[in-house]
Homo-oligomer: 371 residues x 2
């Protein structure tokens, strides 16, 4: 059972997968590492353990994917069932991180494979979960070579997402060959790999963790580098390996957007404080503190508990503004889609006059905060 | 604390509420009975019990509303907190029935008030829940008088939703005064009131429960009466109290739509079998049986577990058709919004050739089925 094979057709486009034109997805050729051999080995091992207790019934295997990888779920389910004889259950709810484990599925299955994210916490929930981080196979070197032209500084801090952390030593060598000193700092326990950042955790980019002159972020999008810049107060250069290009981060537009949201909330008298029920996002104590802050400033507030935060759901609650304690990206990424302003906790403090505008940072969920 | 008062402004339209033009919603004037006095009494009683243990901290109160009533959540939260001193947490996730209790909120609170539905099951989950059924205050008599002209039959079966069950004895009197015999049958344990039907349970409309010549349904929409007609094989007359009108149910269009969905699934080779994780909808054994049926007919199937079933989520899974074992209304109400056909379990049996087309019925979740 060691060689993953392809068993059934899979439709649909697949932007990140060079094998998309092939009617059969070959996981071994995908641009992300699905670790199919390791998955099949793990299932065989758990089945063997079960058989040794005298129970020969097929084990139950759970699969959970983030949205961008869900298209592989059906194919992988057929592959696992056909090769191992295990029964597969697929988590079909939206999933955006290891903060969002399918607790019900974990309780139903002998093992659950969670794709696309590194382990975030170490509660009982994670004990039956195998994290398949789906590391990217993309070559980062061309983007790094482009970035060098934008890096006159001597001491460079390296940060990236889990999909590229295995490339950091290679990148370090390139930079050192160019005469640079490289810092790859370890963040808190929610980011297990040195140099790793999350959309809600930039602790690997604190000056206290290892000082540098500039940060080089490897990955896509502007959200993570903006967090790094606001957290570190340093210049950030971005190297995007998927487009083999580099650019200096400019986040003036971001600051203007957030300032508009804050300004638009100044007259609000009632606030809806959003608490996520997801395992790694649930910050009930913070929500309670924010409600008390609102009351102390003569404002009214309700606590709204929800799993998935969507603009549609918010329409039901007639408040002047929302404060989001769930995934920090929600307030930012979907800004403009909400019926009324959605603030981060830090922005809410600015609205209440408890924080200076200059101290605007991205919201983070840090080690120990949910304990 | 016996007299509910109004404390804060509430924005937004409110089609069913005659007090909508008033900037303050007065729950006692609303067209549905929110039982505010009883809610405040219950909270006071639980707080008193807590105080007697020497713990004088405010109790935690949960509120859960279906979508149409969520607009009252903020107002009611402020009212409860201001009058009783309790702390309120609002469930902001979508909710469509007593099959969809917020288990996480129940576990966090001293009591949870669930609005808009009667108690469905009697598991441990319901023990801390108060069901506020929000009975309608609308006058049903004009619609019943209109319906009489469409009811030449002698023996009339009465069915309705929980919002109007308290009117059935009154309706019975009107019909008896017109010379009719009236049957108000009790369904199974998921419909606690005689004559009550749900979108997923028409057991009060079985010939075996009390034979009649025709059914009179009191309420809005065509979904419930279609279920009654298919379940009972009887003619159904609908009396809509909100529009004070009556009409004979014609469901030819419905049959044509469902036939098209079935026909469109005939060539599917892979099926996604949807299982809901909601407390009163979760039919795992049925899903497993359907998967085995698919395999027995040479088809492939995966089991997809999800909380909220939406067309967007389905786009992630490349299958030829879905079979929905969650809320039976999903396949029907949103037909046309899905990327591929979504079948009920009974329709899937027709696709597989295990059921005659003439035996098409609406899917139901019946007493004992989830045990």
């Amino acid at each position: 059972m060691k060689t993953p094979i392809c068993l059934s057709p899979c439709s649909g486009g697949n932007a990140e997968d060079p094998s998309a034109d092939d009617p059969y997805i070959d996981f071994t050729k995908a641009s992300y590492d699905f670790e199919v051999t390791q998955i099949l080995d793990k299932i065989e091992q758990i089945q063997t353990q079960k058989n040794q207790t005298g129970d020969f019934s097929p084990i139950l295997v759970g699969l959970q994917f983030p949205e961008g990888l869900k298209k592989h779920a059906v194919e992988l389910s057929f592959l696992i069932e056909n090769i191992t004889g295990a029964s597969v259950l697929i988590s079909a709810d939206p999933c955006f991180g290891a903060c969002d484990l399918d607790a019900a599925l974990i309780s139903k299955t002998d093992v659950m494979f969670h794709f696309g994210h590194a382990q975030l916490e170490h509660t009982d929930l994670e004990k039956k979960v195998c994290f398949i981080e789906t590391r990217s196979k993309v070559d980062v070197n061309p983007a790094i070579l482009s970035a060098l032209a934008l890096l006159p500084e001597k001491k460079i801090g390296l940060v990236t997402t889990v999909q590229h952390v295995h490339q950091l030593e290679n990148v370090k060598s390139i930079l050192e060959d160019a005469g640079k000193t490289v810092v790859i700092a370890r963040g808190d326990s929610r980011t297990p790999y040195p140099g790793q950042v999350l959309g809600c955790n930039f602790s690997a980019a604190r000056p206290s963790k290892g000082d540098c002159d500039v940060y080089l972020f490897i990955g896509s999008g502007r959200f993570h580098p903006i967090g790094v810049a606001l957290s570190s107060k340093k210049r950030v250069v971005c190297a995007d390996p998927f487009f083999s290009e580099a650019f200096e981060l400019d986040f003036r537009k971001f600051l203007m957007q957030r300032s508009a949201v804050i300004g638009n909330s100044m007259d609000a008298e009632t606030f809806g404080i959003i608490v996520s029920t997801k395992n790694g996002q649930c910050r009930e104590k913070l929500a309670q503190r924010l409600k008390e802050k609102a009351n102390a400033h003569g404002k009214q507030a309700v606590i709204l508990r929800m799993d998935l935060v969507t603009p549609d759901q918010m329409l039901n609650f007639p408040v002047g503004a929302f404060v989001n304690t769930a995934c920090p990206r929600l307030a930012i990424d979907d800004s403009g889609r909400y019926p009324v302003p959605v603030l981060t906790p830090q922005e809410f403090e600015i609205v209440l006059g408890e924080r200076d505008w200059e101290d605007l940072i991205l919201d983070e969920i840090l080690e120990g905060e949910r304990e």
